[in-house]
């Protein structure tokens, strides 16, 4: 089976390390970006199968990155899962309005994250 590529975007090294631990042992090919600009360029260049995107980042927020990814031909249909600490309805609505497919809340539950990633990549549990 073809190895699926996942781009993890977060300004927190701790979260990137956590995502690496959870997803790395499942055999996914992982790439990381620590800000919005990096995320845009890596997503277009590497064409990941799925993007995990932090909402709160300096300069370019996750919501803005999501909007730009959706407006970019190469990434317009790539599944995007937002990662956030916020549960307020404005944040959740804003995330979906920006074009994300789903979101996971921090602290990250490894079982929930894996289930959502597998679902969007079409991998049976």
């Amino acid at each position: 089976m073809e190895t699926k590529k996942i781009l993890c975007v977060d300004d927190s090294n701790l979260i990137l390390l956590m995502e690496r631990l959870i997803l790395g042992r499942e055999g996914f090919e992982l790439m990381t970006a620590s800000n919005g600009e990096q995320a845009m360029s890596r997503a277009v260049a590497e064409r990941p199968d799925l993007i995990l995107l932090d909402v709160v980042m300096p300069n370019l927020s996750g919501l803005e990155v999501c909007r730009r990814l959706r407006a970019t031909k190469e990434t317009s249909t790539t599944p995007i899962i937002m990662v956030t600490t916020r549960t307020e309805s404005e944040t959740v609505e804003g995330a979906f309005e920006s074009g994300c497919n789903d979101f996971v809340l921090k602290p990250i539950d490894p079982v929930e994250l894996l289930a959502k990633v597998r679902n969007y990549l079409g991998i049976p549990a």
Binding site: S12, N13, L14, I15, L17, M18, L21, I22, T85, T87, L105, K106, P107, I108, D109, P110, V111
Partner: protein
């Protein structure tokens, strides 16, 4: 094997799987926390590392990191609470003490509840600070075993990160290292 036995076996396997997944999650969080705290080379990075552990692994955006110098407490950093308020709520809780039976540190008299939890930062020189947590994120229903594992780790490794950062700075001042 009867259907009933198979069903019991299946339920037992599911329970083991849930347990294993919880253990993996706990170990992953501990490993990530330790790696983050050990990577800090100066005081600002150590404080940021403690912040990241509490926000992203414990699940709180209402806490304070405090320091103890010559018995007096001061606030190093806060998230989601004013420093004065944090210090006031921390101060009414009382002295940190060691429970001889469990080996865990406690604060307060067990009657007042000014904080959700207090994690003393205990280096080999003694208690040099504390992380006072006043509330959890809405999606976090409460504290569980994995949180207490993290608190134990934070108590020693968080303190070590701060203490080592100070030692590093002192060595640099003396010109002992670049």
């Amino acid at each position: 094997m009867s259907d009933e036995s198979l069903q019991r076996l299946l339920e037992s396997l599911h329970a083991h799987l849930d347990d294993a997944q919880a253990q993996v999650a706990m170990m992953s969080a501990a490993m990530v926390a330790a790696a983050t705290l050990h990577a800090a080379v100066d005081r600002a990075a150590a404080i940021q590392a403690i912040n990241e552990v509490v926000i992203n692994l414990v699940g709180s955006e209402q806490f304070a990191i405090l320091e103890r110098n010559n018995g007096a407490w001061s606030v190093l950093a806060t998230t989601g609470i004013e420093a004065d308020d944090a210090l006031a709520r921390f101060s009414v809780a009382g002295e940190i003490r060691l429970d001889e039976v469990t080996g865990r540190f406690w604060i307060g008299d067990g009657k007042t509840d000014p904080m959700l939890v207090c994690v003393p930062l205990a280096a080999h020189v003694g208690i040099i600070g504390a992380v006072a947590i006043f509330g959890l994120l809405p999606q976090k229903a409460g504290l569980g075993p994995s949180d207490y594992e993290l608190f134990d780790l934070l108590a020693t490794q968080g303190a070590a990160a701060l203490h080592n950062a100070d030692l590093h700075a002192a060595c640099r001042e003396r010109g002992a290292i670049e």
